[in-house]
């Protein structure tokens, strides 16, 4: 069996079949003599070309046998036909000739219960003249029956059988003995055709007939389709290329070629942050406030995006697991103006404050936490941040928290990391009581964009993944700084010339 795909029209398919009776080597000599007078028969067969077999010719000749339109047409054909003794003939799609062993219906003797049921369903549906409706609404029964009828998937095959009638005359009547030489199936939508058995390569196929005398036939199936002349092929390729180019052009028109670029010597860092969940906090109905602290050299075009508040989330689970599902995006700009790369890039931090709000509108701080934004390397990051809460000493503050709430009982949220006004050598947080509370999980996607990356040669792209932002930027900013010097020199020169002219 062979499966072919061809974009060309199936009507171009032409098959050459040669059949010849060969002497049986084990048989007696007299048998050989009989066989020699039968020379091989060769036929060119087009796709769905009807060739009538001996039996069919006689059957359709009689007008009484012809009832349907198809049969009447065959009758017309047969009457006009010249008689010959060819053994080759075909069954085309319209003949509805089918094999029992075809498909996945097993011809084993064991018939299972499932087989019976399936046959029942199919039989029932045949009676009802079932048509598979192509509607949008999914119908389980229709789908089931469709899949039973088409066990190979949604192929819609046209078939054609190349046959040989190797019967004999017994007295005056022709005893037919039909053999399938080759079955060809074609699916128009998928442009797929199946040849079974495949075109002969070296060894011919043999048919053996066990009768009074053992007869052996050998046959060849060859693909005799006319090949496309080279001119036409070239022309076709040209046209296909033109169509492809046109489609590419259309797409370009649709999309355009512009892309927003950051200005030179700027690195844009796009952060797509998602607050996912908060859990294990003391009180229910919590919300999260966030705030991003930008160090020197970092800018944000829209500073209002730097802080925000999520919705209040009520949880009914045991560990107060609340879903926040709160995505937001921030675009940060970094100024690459440091040619020597002497100082480290200070990375921005994001601070979170978890606050609970109860039914009496009492607000309580549930936890503080922070993380350094992963701006150094683009990618996708996931954090589970553990929170702490500042807990002033003495029973008074606890009572206060319980009865009237204690929101914002601190001066500076940056205290949780390195405080803003910090300038000594050791961070000392001794003397502050804190309580560990719950945790929040966040997800950050980072994308970088800079014209420096564009200028970079792409061949080192592979090793680039191992480098970090600093190295990438330093190298290119060095080039940039030279460019700046040249630019400044040009301006100075132009000014000098202008000054001279005036003098």
């Amino acid at each position: 069996m062979a499966i072919y795909r061809s974009s060309d029209d199936i009507n171009n398919l032409r098959i050459r079949v040669k059949i010849r009776e060969v002497p049986d080597e084990s048989a007696h000599d007299e048998a050989k003599e009989v066989n020699e007078d039968i020379d091989g028969e060769t036929k060119m067969i087009d796709w769905q070309q009807k060739i009538y077999g001996k039996f069919e010719r006689e059957f359709y000749k009689d007008k009484k046998n012809c009832v349907t339109d198809l049969e009447k047409r065959y009758h017309q054909d047969v009457v006009n036909l010249i008689q010959n003794d060819d053994v080759l003939f075909t069954y085309v799609n319209e003949d509805e000739f089918s094999l029992v062993a075809e498909g996945c219906v097993s011809n084993s003797k064991i018939i299972t219960e499932l087989h019976k049921q399936v046959n029942n369903v199919l039989f029932m549906e045949d009676e009802q003249e079932f048509v598979f409706k192509n509607t949008d609404v999914f119908d389980f029964k229709e789908s089931l029956i469709h899949s039973l009828k088409n066990p190979f998937g949604s192929y819609n095959f046209e078939t054609m059988h190349i046959m040989a009638d190797l019967g004999e005359y017994v007295g005056d009547t022709w005893l037919k003995a039909e053999y399938i030489l080759c079955t060809i199936k074609y699916d128009r939508t998928q442009k797929l055709f199946i040849v079974f058995p495949d075109f002969t390569s070296f060894e011919p196929y043999y048919i053996q007939i066990q009768g009074d005398v053992r007869r052996i036939f050998q046959y060849y199936i060859e693909n005799a389709s006319e090949t496309v002349p080279i001119d036409a092929l070239l022309k076709e390729n040209e046209i296909v290329n033109k169509i492809a180019a046109y489609q590419a052009k259309l797409k370009l028109q649709k999309t355009g070629i512009n892309f927003d670029l950051p200005s030179k010597n700027k690195l844009n860092v796009y952060l797509f942050i998602e607050l996912l969940t908060a859990r294990k906090f003391e009180y229910n109905d919590i919300y999260v406030q966030y705030f991003i602290d930008l160090p020197k050299d970092w800018f944000c075009k829209d500073p209002s995006t730097l802080k925000g508040t999520t919705q209040t989330s009520h949880s009914s689970s045991d560990d107060n697991l609340s879903y926040l599902g709160f995505p937001f995006e921030i675009c940060l700009e970094y100024n690459i103006q440091d040619p020597a790369g002497t100082h480290l890039i200070k990375t921005p931090c994001i601070y979170f404050e978890v606050i609970s709000k109860d039914s009496w509108d009492r607000f309580r701080t549930e936890g503080l936490t922070y993380t350094i934004l992963p701006v150094a390397r683009p990618g996708s990051y996931r954090y589970n941040l553990h929170c702490l809460r500042i807990c002033p000493k003495g029973p008074y503050s606890n009572l206060r928290r319980f009865f009237i709430g204690d929101c914002s009982s601190y001066n500076d949220i940056t205290w949780t990391s390195v405080p803003e006004q910090f300038d000594s050598k050791v961070i000392n947080k001794y003397g502050t009581d804190t309580v560990g509370t719950g945790e929040i999980s966040i997800h950050i996607n980072v994308v970088h964009q800079s014209q420096n990356f564009m200028a970079d040669t792409r061949d080192e792209a592979s090793c680039k993944h191992d480098k970090f932002i600093l190295e990438n930027l330093n190298k290119s900013s060095l080039i940039k700084s030279i460019e700046q010097v040249v630019e400044a020199f040009k301006i100075a020169k132009r000014k000098m010339i202008e000054v001279r002219k005036n003098v």
Binding site: T310, S313, Y323, C331, G379
Partner: protein
């Protein structure tokens, strides 16, 4: 112009209080973005699982975007509804999820919530069904307005998403 393909499926919804769920989804994206092919919104079938509380939708998503800028990276906005035995659909959750920015295969969880009414509203909701919904669903998209909402934790909708990026490197974009 850079392009992005998002191919995947809405796998399942779990942790919702009832079964018989369906999910409306749509893509939200910035002005720079354009859909070249594929559907940008849809609705799944009503689904209930026989074995656990995990409704498997397996609803396909296949969309192709072109963009002029990174801002407004596509996000998926979902609304989960419950269809009750009287044929009424009742809101079970809103969710919003960012599509990952680097190519690859991801299984993503979208955490959903729904508006949490007052005590009286919850009382009515318990007996009659229904419940408060957002009058302006745009509220979900803007990070600045959401603090006004009182919400209740609902379930998790799982997505399986494959992201393919094209031409981003040409414009100096580093994504991994």
């Amino acid at each position: 112009m850079a392009e992005i393909h998002i191919i995947g499926q809405i796998l399942s919804g779990k942790g919702f209080p009832k079964q018989n769920l369906f999910c409306k989804w749509s893509f939200q994206y910035g002005n720079n973005w354009k859909v070249i092919s594929g559907r940008k919104e849809g609705q799944t079938q009503v689904e209930s699982s026989e074995f656990d509380d995990n409704c498997k939708w397996c609803f396909p998503i296949d969309i192709h975007f072109a963009t002029r800028g990174i801002q407004g990276w596509p996000k998926i906005y979902i609304q989960v509804y419950h269809l009750d035995w009287l044929g009424r659909s009742q809101l079970f959750g809103y969710g919003f999820l960012t599509i990952p920015t680097s190519p690859g295969n991801y299984v993503l969880d979208c955490f959903t919530w729904r508006p949490f009414g007052s005590l009286r509203e919850r009382f009515i909701q318990f007996f009659m069904g229904g419940g408060p919904q957002l009058k302006y669903p745009d509220l979900v998209f803007s990070a600045s307005d959401r603090y006004k909402l009182n919400t209740e934790t609902m379930g998790i909708v799982t997505f399986e998403i494959n992201v393919i990026l094209r031409n981003f490197q040409k414009f100096g974009v580093e994504y991994m």
